[in-house]
């Protein structure tokens, strides 16, 4: 273990406090060897910029966790409050708009880097040579990330969130037999509502992140087990190129790329803060939903399938494509990695990307060409801008149970209730305080005559609690009793 030649000095003497502390810790945790294992991972053929995407994804995921956790400090997942709280975060809380924008742009960055990661892995043929499970776990992570994007989009509960998710969940009902049931399961009912928001919140904040943690751990483990594949010229199962440890060169590249992302996302979030539109209004009929940019190609693609063919478009084709993607390392068994020697798979892969790009452009052009659509989209954009300019409106909370008195007599009674100071112990609108019980529903317990007599001469329990006899003119007493009766 302790080779005498490894160090010139005896470890017991002359060492700095830091060195001794590190040694103390290592003897108990094994941290140093863990670090060595992590940092000395051999990379066949040496460090390359092409390999930075995986760790960038890990970094972005951590950034999403940090910003997400803090956003949850003010966010309330209910149809009543979600929009108000996001508006509060965006317009009032210091750094709130920046944090929310970093979270939002961060999700876009994840999609971009994820695509780059997949493209790199595909083009380099890095899924070959006993890496099937690594690839499959990667595909699961891809699906989970898309799930995060979809569920997170609804949470601000503004117009575009509401309507885009309405459309998104409607797609499910195209699935034969179980489609409608699935849609209701996801929505928590037939319509979009506060239960939908709760479900999406739990998926976005608890369930999917937990799965991502699990599969990221597996992905990293499987990656370390199979080893880095190296450049396209390397044999994927037995790379015989001279290798270079991960630290320092590859680590510096990875960190440099992460820094680039930080600068880019940070500047974007600072200069172009993410907008919040007006609160979701389900009765609105003309709103044109558009999903986040990375879902636009799919959105456009789905437009082409109408009627009975929609099963083909929504289920069969994506199903086949998904199976081909997941099954790629099982189908493509050759160990050839150079992309120019694999025209079929690379061609098919490029074709899918070209199609997605084409759909994206088509969607944009159709929106521009149709004057009705273009004006409506422009109007929606203006509504968003107007809403962003409005100052934050706190949610008005009427004291609970404080419905307006139903008649004039009860109204007079309410005034007396406050004027006589009943509210200083029984709370505004009779909601109760620590000093005295609530009076809501007291009319169910006692009839008017009993209430009146209790007011005039409180019973012993009431007197013990500090209740004084009420000395009022009969008309005022009637009004007060009437008001108490109205508290429901």
């Amino acid at each position: 273990m302790n080779e005498p030649g490894a160090s010139n000095r005896s470890p017991e003497s002359n060492d700095s406090v830091v060195a001794r502390l590190i040694r103390w810790n290592d003897a108990r945790t094994g941290l140093n060897s863990l670090l060595h294992d992590a940092l000395d991972e051999p990379i066949p053929g040496g460090a390359k910029l092409a390999y930075v995407f995986g760790s960038a994804l890990l970094f972005l995921f951590l950034s999403q966790i940090v910003t997400g956790v803090f956003l949850a400090m003010y966010y309330v997942p209910s149809a009543d409050h979600a929009h108000t709280t996001v508006s509060y975060i965006t317009k009032e809380v210091s750094g709130g708009s920046l944090l929310r924008s970093i979270h939002s742009y961060g999700s876009s960055a994840i999609v971009i880097v994820l695509l780059l990661h997949i493209i790199q892995t595909f083009v380099y043929g890095s899924y070959k040579g006993r890496r099937e499970l690594l690839w499959v776990v990667g595909c699961i992570l891809f699906a989970l990330m898309l799930g995060m994007a979809f569920t997170g989009y609804l949470l601000p509960w503004d117009q575009k969130a509401y309507f885009a998710t309405t459309v998104g969940t409607n797609i499910l009902s195209e699935i034969p037999l179980v489609g409608n049931w699935l849609k209701q399961l996801l929505r928590g009912g037939t319509e979009m509502g506060t239960l939908t928001l709760s479900r999406f919140f739990v998926l976005h904040v608890f369930l999917i992140p937990a799965l991502i943690f699990l599969f990221v751990a597996q992905h990293i483990y499987l990656f370390r087990k199979s080893g880095a594949a190296g450049p396209v010229s390397a044999d994927p199962t037995n790379p015989n190129l001279p290798s270079e440890p991960f630290y320092p060169k590859q680590l510096v590249m990875d960190m440099g790329f992460a820094l680039l992302i930080v600068i880019f996302v940070g500047l974007l979030a600072w200069k172009i803060p993410v907008m919040l539109g007006p609160k979701a209004d389900p009765s609105e009929t003309v709103f044109l939903p558009r999903p986040e940019w990375y879902y636009i190609p799919v959105f456009q693609y789905l437009k082409y399938w109408k009627g009975w063919t929609s099963i083909v478009g929504i289920l069969v084709i994506p199903g086949i494509l998904g199976l081909l993607l997941v099954g790629l390392p099982f189908l493509d068994r050759s160990l050839e990695r150079r992309p120019w020697k694999r025209p079929l798979s690379v061609g098919a892969f490029a074709a899918v990307f070209a199609a997605l790009g084409f759909f994206g452009v088509q969607s944009h052009r159709q929106d521009e060409k149709n004057p009705g659509v273009a004006t409506q989209l422009e109007k929606q954009r203006q509504h968003e801008e107007e809403f962003m300019k409005e100052p934050f409106q706190p949610e008005l909370v009427g004291a609970s149970g404080g419905a307006e008195p139903t008649n004039a007599l009860a109204g007079k009674g309410q005034t007396l209730f406050t004027a006589q100071g009943c509210n200083s112990c029984h709370g505004d609108n009779g909601v109760g305080t620590a000093a005295a019980p609530k009076l809501i529903g007291v009319g169910k317990k006692f009839d008017s005559a009993k209430l009146e007599s209790l007011l005039k001469s409180p019973n012993s329990a009431m007197q013990l609690g500090g209740m004084e006899a009420v000395d009022l003119k009969q008309a005022d007493l009637d009004a007060l009793v009437n008001y108490l009766q109205s508290l429901k």
């Binding site: 273990m1 302790n2 080779e3 490894a6 160090s7 470890p11 017991e12 040694r23 103390w24 290592d26 003897a27 094994g30 140093n32 060897s33 060595h36 000395d40 051999p42 940090v66 910003t67 803090f70 400090m73 003010y74 409050h81 108000t84 709280t85 508006s87 509060y88 009032e92 210091s94 750094g95 709130g96 920046l98 944090l99 440890p245 630290y247 320092p248 680590l251 510096v252 960190m255 820094l259 930080v262 940070g266 706190p394 949610e395 008005l396 909370v397 009427g398 004291a399 005034t415 406050t418 004027a419 006589q420 100071g421 009943c422 509210n423 200083s424 112990c425 000093a435 500090g466 004084e468």
Partner: protein
């Protein structure tokens, strides 16, 4: 069994030596490690700034601007001879929530004939003090604290006279800034 533990030995020192010639590259590597650590810490600290501000917002944000509630027009109170009770609407902010409630206040004239607005909350235990016209004084129903028509303490368990609220007159409208005061203390002390 040995009585003391042997000193902590560096573990896996052979590990690093196998992949890199240790003695040559160690200073360069540790300099780089220091640089990377410092850089990461710096960027991390920079990124933590908005997060810390975000978390501290409720603590550091300026207290919400003082809100003034309308009591009534000044003319209404010109010729009052006894305290007049008015209900004022007050607004309380709780993060993203706003609560509206009504509080009773008294408009009275002080010895110099100037309008003064008093909180109706007893300085003793917080009951609402009614004006008793027949006896020409405020008498708290809870423990019989008594105050003169200008709110001065004249008897009972209360530690101080009725609390004067900040007021102003704007375009003929009497406005008051409703406040809550600590009870049971001889000195007036705003708590909200």
């Amino acid at each position: 069994m040995p009585q003391t533990l042997p000193p902590d030995k560096p573990r896996g020192s052979g590990h690093a030596a196998s992949s890199t010639p240790d003695l040559v590259s160690r200073p360069r590597r540790s300099f780089l490690a220091g640089l990377l650590t410092a850089g990461t810490a710096g960027v991390g600290a920079l990124l933590a700034v908005p997060v810390v501000r975000f978390v501290l917002h409720p603590v550091l944000a300026k207290t919400t601007e003082k809100s003034w509630s309308d009591v009534g027009t000044v003319d209404e109170f010109h010729s009052i001879t006894a305290p007049v009770q008015k209900l004022v609407q007050i607004e309380q902010l709780d993060g993203w929530r706003r609560t509206l409630s009504q509080k009773p206040v008294y408009v009275v004239k002080d010895s110099a004939g100037q309008l003064v607005v008093l909180s109706a909350v007893c300085t003793h235990l917080g009951c609402t003090v009614p004006w008793v016209d027949k006896q020409n004084k405020f008498i708290c129903p809870c423990h019989q604290a008594m105050f003169d028509p200008a709110g001065k303490l004249i008897g009972g368990p209360a530690p101080r006279g009725m609390d004067v609220l900040p007021m102003k007159i704007e375009q003929g409208m009497l406005k008051v800034q409703y406040q809550f005061f600590r009870q049971l203390t001889p000195k007036k002390e705003v708590i909200a």
